[in-house]
Amino acid sequence: MTDQTERAEAMAEMLYESLCNTLDCYGWNYDRNDEARAICCGVQGDDIPIELTMYIDAQRELIRLVSHIPAFVPEDKRIDLAVAVSIANNKLVDGCFDLDLNTGDIFFHMAATFRDSVIGDEVFAYMLICAEQTIDVYNDRFLMLAKGLLSLEQFVAAEHEEQEA
C-alpha cells in the first residue's frame, strides 16, 4: 500500500465516523454498513419517499451520495425522459440526475472530494439536504412522465412557468 493510499484509507475511516456522528447529532435514522463505509437513510418527501445512500470512496477520495428514483421508465418513454432529465440537470448547481437508457432506471448522484483536505461535518448535512430537496422537486414529475400521466410538453411548460415565477 502506498503512502497516498494509506492516507486516503485513514481519512475515509475518519470521515465515515464523522458522517455517522453528524447523522446522530441531527437525530436521523439510518442503517450503516461499516465494511462498505456506507449509510442508507430514508426521507419522506412531499409525495414520494426518498432513499439516500452515502458512502466514503477511499480509492477515489470522494464522499458520494446516490439515490435511486422509484420511477421505472419503459422503453417507449426513454427519449422523453432523457429530454426531461437534461432540462432538470441544466437547472442544477450541484448533483446530477442519471437515466440509464439500457435499464430505464433513474438515479441522482452528487459528490465532494476530500483529497488533500480536512472536510467539515457540515458537508455531509449539506449534501443530504441538498439532494433531498432536489430529488423532491423532480421525482414525482419523472414518475408521472414515466407512467404517461404527464406529457413531455406539460413537463417543459411547468419548468418554464417555474423559471419565470
Partner: protein, 157 residues
C-alpha cells in the same frame, strides 16, 4: 454573510489560484468575482476550464463548455447521449441546454467548515481534463455526423 465564511471563501480562492499556477497554467481572473479561466490542450479538443468559488453556496465550481453548438435536428440524440455519458459518473456531469444547443461539463464540491488543500484542485483539474476531454471528441463526432447515436452509446465508459 458571516465574516468567517467570507474569509474561508477567500482562502479557498487563493489556494485555487496557487494550485493552477503550480500546474503551469496561465489563467485569467475576473475582476469582480472569484472566478478564473484557463485553457487546456491535452486529451480531445482544446478546452477552457472555468473554476469559481461560490461564496454564497460555499461551493468550488468547475465548468468546461464543450466547443460545439448542437443543431436543432440533433438535440434528441444529444439528450440521449448526455444521459449515457452521465450514467455512472463519479462526480459532476454534462449539462445540455436543449433550447440553445449548448453543452458543458460541470461539477461542484462543498467546502463548508473545511480546510481545502492545493491537491484538491489538482485532482479536480485532472479529473475534468480527462472526462471532458474524452467526451469532447465523441460529442464533436456525434454533432458532425461522424458517428451515429448507436456508435456513441457503444463507446460508453
Amino acid at each position: 454573510m458571516e465574516d468567517h465564511t467570507l474569509r474561508r471563501a477567500r482562502l479557498v480562492f487563493d489556494t485555487m489560484c496557487t494550485a493552477v499556477e503550480r500546474k503551469g497554467w496561465v489563467y485569467r481572473k475576473e475582476e469582480d468575482a472569484p472566478i478564473i479561466r484557463f485553457g487546456v490542450d491535452g486529451i480531445g479538443l482544446p478546452l477552457q476550464i472555468i473554476m469559481a468559488v461560490d461564496t454564497e453556496r460555499q461551493l468550488i465550481r468547475v465548468s468546461v463548455p464543450m466547443p460545439m453548438h448542437v443543431p436543432e435536428d440533433k438535440r434528441l440524440d444529444f439528450a440521449a447521449a448526455v444521459c449515457a455519458a452521465n450514467c455512472g459518473m463519479c462526480i459532476g456531469g454534462f449539462n445540455f441546454d436543449i433550447t440553445e444547443g449548448n453543452l458543458l461539463f460541470r461539477l461542484a464540491s462543498s467546502f463548508r467548515e473545511s480546510e481545502i488543500g492545493e491537491g484538491l484542485f489538482r485532482y479536480l483539474i485532472d479529473y475534468v481534463t480527462v472526462v471532458a476531454g474524452t467526451y469532447s471528441e465523441r460529442f464533436f463526432d456525434l454533432c458532425a455526423d461522424n458517428i451515429t447515436l448507436d456508435e456513441f452509446l457503444a463507446m460508453r465508459g
